[in-house]
Assembly symmetry: C2
Homo-oligomer: 305 residues x 2
């Protein structure tokens, strides 16, 4: 079966390549620890050859993610929201001499004019929705958990706006470098996760105060060393969900359900936390990035048929 498109989800730590046939089926997939942070300046042509294992340059190639950032191969400038396929396609950035096009990231601005950005998630969102379904339906809420979680509003015209929450990075940095990680043991504790989520949901939205309870509860032997991590994760998740809901309210969305896209165990963790807040969550396709790259490439007329 001949290859019609090579799609690369090229992030900070890893690069994942997918070969598509002309019907949009994934023929095979490969990945390598060749993320943007792992490749030295000038090393991207070699990294691409290594990743694709000498694949002919005749096949069109498209990539999304941090490869288009200032630290990547070629900068693909952010496009303003709202943005649909047409806006994305018109901003595809070619890499000179590499037979490769890079999908731009998106920028939106809040009421105060403060910008927010995504890069890579726009492609996952475009991959997660059936276009017919989007044309028929109302606005949908997509949540992409991660180092910098994104909440996005999507309608038939594309991505309307979005908001970032530093949930994953705060979790990692606080556990590794702050007093909250002191005397912590590895382990998981579903009840502690739930307690953390509830505290943030029921509280007065003061994260810098609530976080300290991970220390005091441990100090008072109310939280076992192996439960601190999940309690902290719950506090941060609850704060994200509470703030995400206020953000949706400001955009006149009364959410009944959200679609989660991302790493499967992390999506499951978010699904449990959202359930505590009374929000239904559907977990979307794990191949959202590949599917999004396929759709963008088809809209751009890049796919051989």
């Amino acid at each position: 079966m001949s290859v019609a498109l090579i799609a690369i989800d090229w992030g900070t730590t890893a690069a994942r390549a997918y070969r598509f046939d002309r019907h949009g089926h994934i023929l095979d997939r490969t990945s390598a620890p060749l993320g943007v942070q792992k490749v030295a300046a000038g090393g991207f042509p070699d990294a691409l050859r290594l990743l694709l294992d000498g694949e002919s340059e005749d096949v069109p190639r498209i990539a999304c993610g941090m490869i288009g950032s200032r630290q990547g191969w070629v900068e693909a400038p952010y496009r303003d929201c709202p943005a649909g396929f047409t806006a994305i396609v018109s901003a595809l950035t070619p890499v000179p001499g590499a037979c490769l096009s890079i999908v731009p990231g998106l920028v939106c601005r809040d009421a105060a004019g403060v910008p927010d950005v995504m890069r890579g998630e726009e492609t996952q969102i475009f991959g997660a929705f059936d276009e017919q379904e989007a044309r028929d339906g109302a606005r949908q809420v997509v949540v992409l958990p991660g180092t910098h979680s994104k909440w996005a509003l999507v309608d038939a015209h594309g991505i309307e706006t979005f908001a970032t929450f530093m949930t994953g990075e705060l979790y990692a940095v606080l556990l590794e470098h702050s007093i909250l990680g002191r005397n912590v043991a590895t382990g998981s504790d579903a009840a502690a996760l739930e307690d953390g989520v509830k505290r943030s949901l029921d509280g007065d939205a003061s994260l810098s105060h609530d976080l300290f309870s991970a220390r005091t509860l441990a100090l008072m032997s109310k939280l076992a060393p192996a439960a601190v991590g999940d309690y902290l994760s719950g506090l941060l998740l609850g704060a994200e969900i509470a703030a995400g809901r206020r953000w949706l309210e400001r955009h006149a969305v009364k959410e009944e359900s959200v679609t989660l896209i991302g790493d499967a165990p992390l999506c499951e963790r978010y699904r449990r936390a959202l359930a505590i807040a009374g929000v239904d969550a559907m977990i979307g396709s794990p191949d959202a990035a590949a599917r999004g790259l396929w759709r963008i490439a088809r809209h751009a007329g890049m796919v051989r048929t």
Copy 2:
């Protein structure tokens, strides 16, 4: 002039000793980098000798701060709030063989029963208030900026309750270990500090979202590398002040002014941030810890006259 009391403010990184005469005047002061984290197990007797430079053991000694924590010399268990001089004095913990008494920390619980703790700040608070003034006046609000900032409610009976905000530690950890510290230059920028405070005060209390603006504004060249630190500081300060006010409202306090106690430049930074929020702040004595130790010792009958 003979020494009537030796008072030691013994914290995590440093120990500060004060010699008092019998009238409560400070005769001299000395400090050493012999904080609890710097002294190896079993090393406290030597650290004390070094700090006091062979001062006779005949003089009564009192200490507050992390020296009474589980990681300190002898654990002085937390006392429940509300707590006045009588409660503190009855919980002074003697160090066997060292002619030294340690002031206990305090614990309070919020409506959900979640504990909060302080250790050392209780002594600063007792040192900051004139007792006569406290007997006459209404409840007062004391703010102690630091790694873990404290907001406390104080009345004639002592410390009623308090709340911790991890402002200082979040600032340090995020600047050093998160994406927010990337491409940052040292420097100060009063306008950026003000912008950060306003964003947190005007926003919807989503710190994990607002923090990301320190990244996006820098990315869009709206924030200079040397201004990121002060903007981040402003975001965290504004979030603390907004949450502190909600906490005061829950305790039926309509604050008109607060007293700041602590490091002078940090208090000045808080004063500016509080002014943006319309709150007057008076900066208290820099010798609050020494003054508090003196008063507690006098209430305990420890002072030679």
